[in-house]
Subunit: 219 residues, 2 copies
């Protein structure tokens, strides 16, 4: 078995561009987008600490110091990716839940959206999850708050289903952890073009989560 | 919120030593153990590519070239950690399953052992999971084979439960993925002394997995 490409951009050169355009809709400068893309690719490929500002600038086809036109530092680029990724997925699962009414349907929608997010933005998610320790204290605290909001949101959704009698799971907080882990870990193992179809995966994960929470068939 | 320590060794200086003694029982040289520990710590802390052989040697309190007395290269140290970690967890879940007879009890034992492993060896697991792309083609292929064996083992256990009528899950391969992801992701989020009690977590994960597979209460 040969090694899979480390990031989407090797397998599909346009995949990363799409990720960036969707993750950073407010960035309208082509140069800034190229820098973010180059930073995400480098952080995912070699890790934050082994990436230099020169790698990022040159990976974007720019002069060595070009990063500083758009970002104060290498850490600022990591923070931008982490913040957009974490806020984006929280918005996505809230919006998905709001489309449904019963606790089982809301939870299925949350898991589908969470799984789809980690497939679609797997490069950004890898960086956001595995390089988070490199953020400054202040930036780390901000990301930790968003993560806590995300976890609290899922816990409240589970608790609502327990209260309504739709779910029977006794360990609400641990179940929230498990459901989030299933989705987060997708960013680690997902290989574009070589893994399960994303829509099928998202639907299967939604049913597995419902079953884990004790939803009876047909609910 | 302040940043948690990146690895067990900062929070508990003796924790890493225990990990190493248990992961590498065949290594009886104190110097070799210190080198493996230093390598694991550095890879987990700053990433493989940002770690130099000098970091590893000096982290073990040795002269810059000391690594080469025990390892051919930096990659050889990564391979040693990855191989021990991956083989160890496969042995652990096989042994756990063999203690039980019915498919639900076997699966609970597998999930308990898998979860406990990722708590106990969370530093080694982070390195083994997140730095795997840095292995040589040959070493990567060997680790990929062990991972495939692990996944196949879990799939067969689930299929046995479906065949016996104990499990009702329709998507066997995806369920195996989800159960492995729950456990693997523990190595990412687990913080010694700040997270759920490991035994409670392992038991709760075992019940969540059983429920996910459609085991009826009491089975």
């Amino acid at each position: 078995m040969s090694k899979p490409p480390a990031t989407a951009s090797e397998a599909d050169p346009t995949g990363l561009d799409t990720e960036i355009a969707m993750l950073f809709p407010e960035v309208d400068s082509d140069v800034a987008r190229r820098l973010i893309g180059s930073a995400m690719h480098a952080f995912a490929e070699r890790g934050y600490h082994a990436t230099t500002t020169r790698h990022i600038s040159e990976g974007a086809g720019l002069s060595p110091a070009a990063l500083y036109v758009h970002f104060k530092s290498k850490e600022a680029a990591l923070y931008a990716v982490s913040r957009s990724g974490h806020l984006g997925v929280l918005d996505a699962i809230r919006a998905a839940a709001d489309e449904e009414s019963t606790p089982p349907d809301r939870m299925r929608a949350v898991v589908r959206a969470f799984t789809t997010w980690h497939v679609r933005y797997h490069t950004a998610c890898r960086v956001a999850q595995y390089e988070i320790a490199a953020l400054t204290e202040e930036h780390y605290a901000e990301i930790a708050d968003i993560r806590r909001d995300t976890e609290q949101f899922v816990r409240r959704e589970i608790q609502a289903g327990v209260d309504s009698g739709d779910f029977t799971v006794p360990a609400v907080a641990t179940a929230a952890r498990a459901i989030l882990s299933m989705g987060i870990d997708v960013a680690r193992w997902y290989q574009p073009g070589r893994s399960t179809d994303p829509d099928l995966l998202a639907t299967q994960y939604a049913e597995l989560a419902a079953s884990m929470l004790g939803v009876r068939p047909g609910r």
